[in-house]
Assembly symmetry: C2
Homo-oligomer: 299 residues x 2
């Protein structure tokens, strides 16, 4: 395994994505380089109150520490107590127009080390889409890009990582998926470093082709207060998922990560309402009945 190669890929990926998003929006990202006392650091790039994006955060981080946090060792108790390095790019994009879905993408590499033992490493990542108003074309396009990202590595990956995504981005307390899914994977160390790395690169590189056409297609759709209200309400689910369940968020907070960079995933403006339900048959209800259900989008 080659930590430097992973780092070089990740910093390059961050730059490519930031440049593209900045081109879409017309505004520049703010760039913060930071380091942490416990080891490592990162580059946070953020755009707030943009034209297309109300909040867009693209983080690179490379952190290390003497003890693998519990959120990372939960599935691998034999690694508890090992020192670790974690490298990743993580992004969450909250568009202004409620017809443009929120998007999330993450690629990461972990190494757990211990004197006198072989280093254990694995990749993880994925991307998923959270629409406010669903469009079949968009869902099909996004999932097709996810499938294309994985296809060169074997036909089995997409169905497996699609299901994993559906299972992971699930709000148990709501009995609701977070959005229409995408792909999610973790603990990937097969068949060897080079191929697992190549698969992870492919996921990262397919994000822009998966998402950019959807933004361009929907960004000029007219909307009013009703659509903004529904967007603000649904963003509440995003907050609930990220703070209650998301392993990446918990890993960041537990490992003494930079709070402002980690919580950049939270939406800029959110509303909660008691026991609110959409009018049956309304465009808002359609999100629940036709999109927030288990569906195969890439056929």
């Amino acid at each position: 395994m080659d930590v430097d190669a992973v780092k070089q890929f990740l910093t390059g990926l961050q730059q490519t994505i930031v440049a593209s998003l900045s081109g879409i929006d017309g505004r520049a990202f703010r760039r913060d380089e930071w380091s942490r006392r416990e080891g490592g650091g990162g580059i946070t790039q953020v755009l707030e109150d943009g034209v297309a994006f109300e909040r867009a955060g693209v983080n690179f981080s490379h952190v290390s520490g003497p003890n693998l946090p519990p959120s990372a060792s939960a599935g691998r108790p034999e690694l508890a107590g090992r020192s670790f390095q974690a490298l990743g790019v993580s992004l969450v994009l909250h568009p202004r127009n409620p017809y443009v879905p929120t998007a999330h993408m993450n690629v990461r590499f972990l190494v757990a080390e211990q004197d006198g033992a072989a280093a254990v490493w694995w990749f993880g990542g994925g991307m998923d889409l959270t629409p406010y108003y669903g469009f079949e074309d968009d869902a099909r396009h996004f999932h097709a890009a996810c499938r294309d990202a994985l296809a060169p590595f074997g036909a089995g990956y997409y169905p497996r990582f699609k299901l994993w995504c559906d299972e992971y981005f699930h709000l148990r307390h709501r009995g609701e998926p977070r959005g229409i899914g995408g792909i999610f994977f973790d603990d990937l160390n097969e068949p060897d470093f080079n191929r697992a790395f190549a698969l992870t690169c492919s996921v990262g590189e397919h994000f822009l082709p998966a998402y950019e056409p959807i933004v361009q297609r929907r960004r000029n759709e007219p909307y009013g207060e009703r659509e903004r209200d529904f967007q603000a309400y649904r963003r509440g689910r995003y907050v609930e998922f990220n703070l209650v369940y998301d392993r990446g968020t918990l890993f960041g907070l537990q490992s003494g990560g930079r709070t402002e960079a980690i919580l950049m995933s939270l939406p800029p403006r959110v509303e909660w309402r008691y026991d609110w339900k959409p009018e049956p048959g309304s465009p808002e209800a359609k999100l629940y009945t036709e999109f927030l259900i288990a569906r195969d989008w890439a056929d």
Copy 2:
């Protein structure tokens, strides 16, 4: 111990508080009675978009189940696997005027049972205040009421429960207290049922005298967009605490509680901003430098 007496007290307390808050606001609460498949139920009373309260929720619940949830047995591993009953009143009030603080109060009673073993019971609860703009008078008044609630039971309770509150309502990832505290207690089963119950009743009954005068004093303070923005921003901390750390919220979600009733504690309208800091010397900065610090307010 006497579960019926506790239940009678709690339903009466909910009624008294709802009637008072409704009188302050001028609008009526919506009332939902609910039951859950796993056992028990509750009464949710909620006011949204009121005059004084943008969101006010006062819950009563009496739930039971075959397995004490992990959030309740964490400090008492010997009780894991026992059946339980949990009764409580829990309220969170989010005022509209940013000069009126958000308030939280909870009183609860838990019983863990097992065939062939004596039932184990305990009380818990507390109240605390989360201002957006701090006022020394308000902080002193609130803490004095907390002290008065506990004084009849021994001079040691207030300092102990005040410290417990400071420790509990702490956002580790921000290095910040949630607000100016108050009192918090858990696992109270001393010196006997009658006296632990009486102490808990006193805490519940002191909520209105602690909070109502503050609402009346500040509710007509003029404010503008700046104050509303700061309130929306600071409410983000409330969400972070409740979803990441709060044991009551986790207990509710883990025990299959009614999600809409549990998450009524979340503010109606919230904003997150990247790396935002108040202007040094501003009224907003004063909240951090003079109120969100460890202070003795009841001297």
